[in-house]
Amino acid sequence: MKIRFDGLTKRFPNRNKKIKSEVVAVDHFTFEIPDGKLVGLLGPSGCGKSTALNLICGLETPTEGKIFFDDDDVTDLPAENRGVGMVFQSYALYPHLTVKKNIMFPLQNLKGDQKLTKEQLEAKALEAAKIVQIEELMDRKPNEMSGGQQQRVAIARALVKMPRVLLLDEPLSNLDARLRIQTREEIKRIQNTTKITTIFVTHDQEEAMSISDLIVVMKDGAVHQIGKPQEVYDSPVNLFVAKFLGTPPINVFTGRIKDGKLLIGEDTILGKDCVKDTKDQEVFIGIRPEGFLLREDKEKNGKLDGKNGVFHADLLAIEVMGRDTSVVFSHSSSEIEGTRLRAIVSSDNQIDPESKTVAFDVNPKKVFVFSKETQERLL
């Protein structure tokens, strides 16, 4: 089922009562989530993503705007009639009930004709447990299980009513690193099997990128960009999105466009062909760590042409990761003075850790230019 937002807005009164202005948690959401997709709602903490989730499930009522499930307007529908399943950050498993009873709990709320017999209850609970592969834990209590298992139970409980939409609030934040990777694949698998439109909230971009069909990048209540993870990564619309996605983070410099060239300090990053139709101005330049290509050897052999795409920086350290090597450097033009910048190069390169400077070629595809005033992407 697809979900459509139309100018959805949620404002809260300021917690400090002396301040009259309201806090905008969700600011005019207008977009559509296609049917059967796994969507990651991504943003830094406090950006309103959990509020957005609460609006979808009906725990909060919007200040203005509408929410549609397919073509049904569910804006004023109470939570229990929306057909949503929700997995809370803390799982919210009832501690006094066994796994089986936890999973059956939503079904036991059904009334009248929908009321299920004991056999039906058991069968449905088992079915849901099978999807998340916890059939053998049915008689445990929540505190007798690991975080990952509790998470699965919570998902099973959310799935048992076969909801139209499954919502997950920070589903991986309470798990350790190893379990996190396992569980995110698990979520992807469950979503693939059930084909239920799933929305999950996270502040971890890696988490969102790795399993989402679509990511929605938010900041301060506003949607900044929606797209497939790779698309958003490869062409961020503004500096925030560029900075928010990617580990290690993108390196940001202050530079300028002059005579159709892109300059950082005295180094020409992109030559005449690359910068067209843009007036001369000060800009922010973002270069992804993998956008740097080591130039060490060429320079030593004196074969440098010096015309295009060379970038000099002060070498700080070399970190060997095995698969690749991270070159840590600093540059006087970095956005924030003294930031440790990072380039990731193939481990085939031999870099002399003793040398004071390092020179790179730059992959133009990995270079983004942002306006200094609006922080919007220029090219």
Binding site: E80, F88, Q108, L110, R157
Partner: protein
């Protein structure tokens, strides 16, 4: 230096020194416990044993420290004393009526307090006020409200008159009327503490459970019976157990309303009987008092064990 020596000894004779260390630690533990143990021994264990001894000594006299002999005589006397039997009956009625009723009322009040948003603190304070008020002062107020004198029928009887009933003398009148006042008063006095405990217990239930239940379409009644009650059940059991113990030990509440001559009022309790046997007008019989006290102990102990067994069986975690 000593550390080095220690490790040397350990490496030389690891088994021996480990044993030594263990014994040293045990000794230290007892040393730290000593002050508490001494006080508990002198002021609790010794008197308890003493009471047990007195209860078996016939006609013990505390002044001369003499007695006629030993045996079950004191118990037999106390158990055949109509005043004691009346006291046991009164105590049980008070316990059975006030403990469940006050807990239930406290739960209802706490739920109401928990659901209001405005002036919550104000109401909580109001409900807690009786707890900081002296029992005798409250008793006096109750007495004035319920008492019927030649000059006035009292506030309660005035209200009853509106409904065309009464007047009833609640303080010097029939047994049921006196028992009603007693239970009413007891509930009123124990309520604030229970409300305090239960409101904090209710507030400590994580909001997220209710959110989850709401999304799943749980009715409010089911939320209460299947989420709230199990979650606060440890606190309810705590209140019931301490409530039982407290109600069995009731005495000052009775004095506050009916005065010190509880036997003639027919409103004596077991603790009141013990007191009377020691210091009352008919007092001076420490052996009877000791026997009665031990019977009370046996009753309270049994009830508490039963309570704990039940709470363990139905315990949620």
């Amino acid at each position: 230096m000593s550390m080095q020596q220690d490790t040397k000894i350990q490496s030389a004779k690891p088994k021996n020194s480990a044993k030594l260390l263990k014994r040293l630690n045990a000794f230290k533990a007892w040393l730290y416990l000593l002050p508490a143990l001494v006080f508990l021994g002198i002021f609790m264990v010794y008197p308890l044993i003493d009471v047990l001894v007195y209860s078996f000594e016939e006609g013990y006299n505390s002044a001369s420290q003499t007695s006629f002999g030993t045996g079950w005589f004191n118990y037999a006397y106390v158990l055949h004393d109509p005043y004691f039997l009346q006291a046991v009956k009164n105590t049980f009625i008070i316990v059975i009526i006030t403990v469940p009723l006050s807990t239930l009322l406290a739960l209802l009040i706490s739920l109401a307090l928990n659901s209001i948003k405005k002036l919550k603190e104000v109401f909580q304070t109001i409900f807690f006020l009786p707890y900081v008020t002296n029992t005798l002062a409250v008793g006096l107020v109750f007495m004035i409200m319920f008492k019927k004198t030649p000059y006035t029928d009292g506030l309660i009887n005035m209200i009853l008159a509106i409904f065309k009933t009464g007047p009833v003398d609640f303080i010097d009148g029939p047994y049921w009327a006196k028992m009603f006042v007693m239970c009413f008063y007891t509930i009123w006095v124990v309520l604030p503490f229970k409300v305090l405990i239960l409101t904090s217990a209710l507030a400590s239930v994580d909001e997220v459970y209710y959110k989850a239940a709401k999304i799943d379409g749980t009715s409010r009644f089911r939320m209460f019976t299947h989420i709230t009650l199990p979650m606060i059940s440890p606190m309810i059991f705590y209140l019931v157990i301490t409530g039982f113990i407290g109600a069995f030990k009731a005495y000052s509440d009775e004095v506050a309303i009916f005065g010190t001559n509880l036997n003639s009022a027919g409103m004596n309790t077991i603790v009141g009987y013990v007191y009377d046997m020691l210091y009352g007008d008919s007092g001076g019989y420490p052996s009877y008092a000791a026997a009665a006290a031990l019977i009370l102990f046996a009753i309270v102990f049994t009830i508490t064990v039963v309570n704990l067994l039940i709470s363990k069986k139905t315990s949620i975690r």
